[in-house]
Amino acid sequence: MVWALRATGRVIRWLVLAAVLIAAAPVTIVTAIAAGTAWLRGWPPGRLRRAAAAALLMTLAWAVGLAVQSSGRWHRLASAPWHTWDIAWHDALTGHLLAAAVLSAPVAVPAGLIIAAGLWAWRIYAIAAGLTGRAVSAPMIFDTRQWRRAARTAKARAAAPGAVPLTDARGRLVIGTTIRAVGHRWRPVLAVPYEDLGRHQVIIGASGSGKTTLMMRLWAGWFTTAWQRYRAGRAARPLLAVLDCKGGPDARTKAERARKLLHAAGAARVAIWPDEATLSLWVLPPAALATTLFQMIESGEGSAAFYADVMAATVRLAINAPGGPPTSAAGFLDRLAPGWLEAAYAGRPAELAAVAAAQPHLGAIALRYRNLLERLGPSLDGPGQLADADAWYFILEGTAEQSVAEAQAKALTELIAHAATSRTSPPRVILLALDDYSAVSGKVPLSNLYERGRSLGMGVQVSAQSWHGLGGDEDERYRIAATADGGLWLLRTPYPQPVCELAGTRKVIESAHKLTGATWGDEGTSRLQYAWTVDPDIARSLAVGQAAYIHAGGCTWVHIARARPSPLALTPTPAPSPVPGPDGPGTRPAQPIALPGPPPAPAQPPSPGDLDDAFTPRRHP
């Protein structure tokens, strides 16, 4: 009897539901289409909610139209939805389906979308929590299938040129289209605040995972926003410094790609070092110069520490000699020649005593520096300074010549730090990007650079091919990754576990069911469980161009959009106007427009005499 009552109740419930669904057929149809599309395309419920919000505009327009039609008779306005429903059914039953659809659309579309969003959200929750599903493995199959579909949708959306500009209207850096958001609010594209690049970021991805594309996008996006802020007078001029520490022909290709992007982003000069431009190490202040020169040479510990001290003292004497520091490698080497230091410090007994003490080792020290400076070549011997360009791409041959590359890295990071703190040159907003820095980190551990950058207000971005490439030991790796307060980017890598651990966990519902034969029974338990915020299995199986952005306890999986130079110039050149030919307008092809030349050079301050008396002939008698 009870069973019959329950069955009758169930049937009545189903009949009532069917009646409601049929009565509200337009809403039911929209709901079914929306939910089905979301299932097929791997959309999150948030997307349906956003669509519903956008569709409310049509409801508003319909309501305004009704208000106007009612001419202020409010009782008519209040009964309009019922009235509209009635007419729509009437039209449908009399074969005027089009009119019925149009009549019901302003209410049915937003309502159907919002209901579909709710149903779809419930479905995802129920599957994930194990509350529903035909098979025990339903949650895994569902998740894998939805991931695949979402990735496909994100990839298609990233191909749309306007969907992923470099920056959005608020100046945030757009990276790509969202596949899935865990602990972050879902948005169609992932936009990273510009300020996050002023902190520290870490990028980990194996070769061919799309790391270069991601970095180029970050650089171009950062420069675009920084440049616009500079032009608006709100910030200092930006300076991007990229250290490509692996070198080789790939580095040149990347440099050219970066140059094109940065030009399109507004950079006036992009220098590629050492192929095209040089810098002068000798502009460093004497103390920094002496320290850098000393650290560029391998020096020992233990019993070799004495020799290291002698070398350090000799370098300081050479740099701080009366008359100013050296301005070139040759000038520095001259100072290590016999007799120079004695002559320079003549009349200063304390320094002369130091020179005398270092005398026996002077030849060896000079030889070591001559060797080092010859191997470094002219690329750090000037002229040129960081302020000469808006972006520098430094190519270090860390694979081919590691010791030289380490010395160069030391010098370059010192020059960049000097640029960040110099009071004699205009301030710059600096982003320092280190690609595969582990290849040259022997002389400057990355953690030191991190701390230095933080204290100088400089953003530091570090990339490595794997977790192990971040640092020399586990402590250093954790220190670098854990202090990446600007976010951590994880691309395909064989060992993502430590990064997943750093990203933390989130609470999920885990359900257990009683099995009865081959099916689930009607009893079971649910409990709160912890799962990785960043799923290591997903991280291991990421496709090329997919990445996880880990920040503030959440993770957004994203398909990175390829950065392309904007086909529209930042400062458009006027379209050439047709030049009328002898036979009338438009008969001759347009000539190149003479662009305005550079402004006339400001009047040079009068040099100490223009020396006319030395170059003008005498008036002969």
Binding site: L60, T84, G233, H263, E276, L568, P598
Partner: protein
Amino acid sequence: MTDPFTTLGLPADPGLTTEEVRAAWRAIATATHPDRPDGGDPATYAAASAAYTALRTPWGRSEAYADLTAARIPHPVPPAPTVISRASAPPAHLLTAARWLPARIHHGRPARLALRLLAAAILAVTTAISGAGTPAIAGVLTGIATWLLLSARGDLAPPPGR
């Protein structure tokens, strides 16, 4: 004094290849070389040679482009205080956006955009002739316009500076 890009008849683009620059110089040099039977045009030849020397390397092109943009890009000025007036002109950024629209369409996905516009037009016409009454038609047309605006953005190239 004209810039080296204009002297060689090239667009001011630092992304020019060395072959393009060389081809442009050769064309001018062939037509103006002083050794030509008609005497050529030594002044133009000299100017073209100087322009080629400046533009023959990527760094040289970058330098020349930098000089040009330095002349064009005004120095940053602090934002002026906002003045609210009753009869204010349309916001400048809307006019700028309208000016850039043809270029954004051309460099985006014009075919897809055309299909979208066609679909929107067909839906709009169908709605208009449905006889469903003005408020509903207005609502649906608004919905079609909203859909078009939101979905067509992806088919346009990003505006300059983004």
